[in-house]
């Protein structure tokens, strides 16, 4: 092994490690400061779970916000999967009048700024009796997820050999039975990617609940933790704030690490082609 090559390897290790420390530092710091004591706060000294206990009691209680976030996320993931799986199958395998128009209209969602669509949605959901409602919020998230999800699912269904489906249809299955029994299994990687994206987006989104939810008992986690930062009377309890960040980030980081293979592959295949 030449010394030049050894030097290059050492250079790589030093640079990559230094950068790794920079990228990891904020995450480690927030975990550390969420258990560290700070005079005058709920964890006055030493280390412990005082900040988390304060968080548990904050406002309506962190459990309420976690339940809200979980409900919105579950409805969004289920709704996105349902609409995108049916739609993706329809777009991949059938031809019907207005098909291209509908597909383009769905992709156009990507072109429209978040704020441009949320201001009228605020008025529209009010008229539909869905303002201040977690269901209304989920419907909005499903709409925002739809361009990516539909594109992904259409490509996934197109990649399945037609013979697989036709064999089932010749056996007398309806197209819906064929979809349910045969095709859904074949497009599972696509479904996982769509579900992961819907989960990350709806769990973490801040702007839509900020605008659409005004009742504090219906806040999702990001808005609830933000409201801790906004209390202008008295000092901000930074330790509890970081505890809130940890509670928000942990499920995402876990899902992110566990499903990284899908996430990365989803990008490399479906999402970026075309």
């Amino acid at each position: 092994m030449s010394s030049a090559r050894a030097a290059r390897t050492a250079g790589f290790n030093v640079t990559a490690s230094a950068l790794a420390i920079l990228f990891l530092f904020p995450l480690l710091w927030s975990g550390w400061s969420s258990v560290k004591g700070q005079p005058g706060t709920s964890q006055a000294s030493g280390y412990g779970l005082g900040n988390y206990r304060y968080l548990a009691r904050y406002g309506e209680g962190v459990v309420t916000y976690l339940v809200n976030s979980t409900a919105v996320t579950a409805m969004t993931v289920a709704g996105t999967l349902l609409v995108a799986a049916l739609g993706g199958y329809g777009f991949a395998r059938f031809s019907f009048p207005g098909k291209n128009l509908l597909f383009l209209a769905t992709l156009a969602i990507l072109m429209v700024p978040y704020a441009t669509i949320l201001i009228p949605l605020y008025v529209l959901l009010d008229r539909l009796g869905l303002q201040n409602s977690l269901l209304g919020l989920s419907l909005v998230f499903i709409m925002f997820q739809l361009p990516f999800a539909l594109f992904m699912m259409r490509n996934s269904f197109e990649a399945v050999p037609r013979e697989l489906e036709e064999a089932a249809l010749v056996d007398g299955c309806s197209t819906f039975t064929a979809l349910r029994r045969v095709l859904l299994r074949a497009v599972r990687p696509g479904l996982v990617t769509v579900a992961l994206f819907a989960f990350l987006a709806s769990w973490n989104d801040f702007f839509a609940p900020l605008i659409l939810i005004s009742d504090a008992s219906k806040f999702t986690m990001p808005v609830a933790v933000y409201s801790m930062q906004q209390r202008s009377f008295g000092a901000i309890d930074y330790g509890a704030l970081e505890a809130g960040v940890v509670v928000m980030a942990l499920p995402c980081l876990l899902a992110f690490l566990l499903l990284q293979r899908h996430y990365v592959r989803g990008f490399m295949t479906g999402a970026l082609r075309g």
């Binding site: 605020y122 709409m143 930074y238 690490l257």
Partner: protein
């Protein structure tokens, strides 16, 4: 003869895509039409609307906050797009080769992308605080003079936010660049080396041209995202100091929910929409022209 199941396929296709059509019509096209209608009305947050076109549009010129926010948003967009792309390219080149540890480093650089953007902004809000934030102490320890407040002057506020956005998005852009880099055939690099090209020449003559579609995608994503910036400034700087870090979307939000003037917010939204669509069309047409030119020359 087609088998019987073929006969009604057109109807079945409509059936399968009905949920999609419902979502698109009710939750996208209807609000899109509504925002245009709202922009033509005096539309208070509470109370009934009255037609007043084109007053909402005429007043935009006098909305100094919005006019100033355009300049700031453009400045932010240029700075963050350049820095983010440069950092992501550095990371991608660093970990693209298969050697020990690259998989581990890739995962670490990508990890911040798993944290929600609002959560990341709140995290950095704590890091920048003088009460418990570590950055102040670290800067002193290495002999630098930290600013009195990381969000106290227009420049420090901007650069504190940029650090947050770089941390949160560099790994994500790196991932997309890696997919582009991996599609470049290794033979091209070998041919360049045989021809006596240096690493830098190979990068400029082989990597960059072949990476063009990926770079274009990242530029579109980054420019669109930055022009619509909201969370990072809303949480980290709240537009301060002296409204110097207000973005366009923040002004729209303010118009609607602090000044309770939905009509005016709708007019601003329509302006942002038109500019963004025009910009996207422009970017796409430039990219297409570039592509046909490079195909013609090769």
């Amino acid at each position: 003869m087609r088998p019987p199941w073929w006969r009604s396929r057109s109807f079945k296709g409509i059936g399968y895509t009905t949920p999609t059509a419902l979502v698109v019509v009710v939750l996208f096209l209807t609000p899109l039409a509504l925002v245009f209608w709202m922009s033509l009305n005096r539309w208070p947050l509470l109370g009934s609307p009255t037609f007043n076109a084109p007053a909402n549009y005429q007043r935009i010129r006098d909305n100094q906050l919005f006019v100033d926010s355009i300049g700031f948003t453009l400045k932010y967009t240029v700075v963050i797009t350049v820095l983010l792309l440069a950092l992501a390219m550095g990371l991608a080149l660093l970990v693209q080769e298969r050697r020990r540890g690259t998989g581990f480093f890739r995962t670490i650089y990508l990890l911040p992308a798993g944290v929600g953007f609002a959560a990341a902004a709140l995290l950095f809000y704590g890091m920048y605080s003088t009460e418990i934030g570590p950055i102040d102490g670290i800067m002193r320890a290495v002999g630098l003079t930290p600013p009195v407040s990381f969000t106290g002057s227009p420049n420090t506020a901007l650069f504190s936010t940029i650090a947050l956005v770089l941390w949160r998005f560099a790994g994500f852009q790196m991932l997309i660049l890696l997919t582009g880099l991996q599609s470049i055939p290794l033979e091209l690099y070998e041919a360049a080396r045989v021809d006596g090209a240096t690493r830098w020449q190979a990068f400029r003559r082989v990597t960059i041209p072949l990476l063009r579609p990926t770079l274009a995608l990242l530029l579109v994503l980054s420019i669109t995202g930055s022009l619509l910036a909201f969370d990072q400034f809303f949480i980290l700087t709240q537009g301060q100091p002296d409204n110097s870090t207000l973005t366009m979307v923040m002004v729209i939000y303010r118009e609607a929910f602090f000044r309770f003037d939905l009509g005016s917010a709708a007019a601003l939204s329509v302006v942002v929409l038109v500019v963004l669509v025009a910009l996207n069309v422009l970017q796409l047409s430039i990219l297409r022209r570039d592509r046909t030119e490079s195909e013609a020359s090769s």
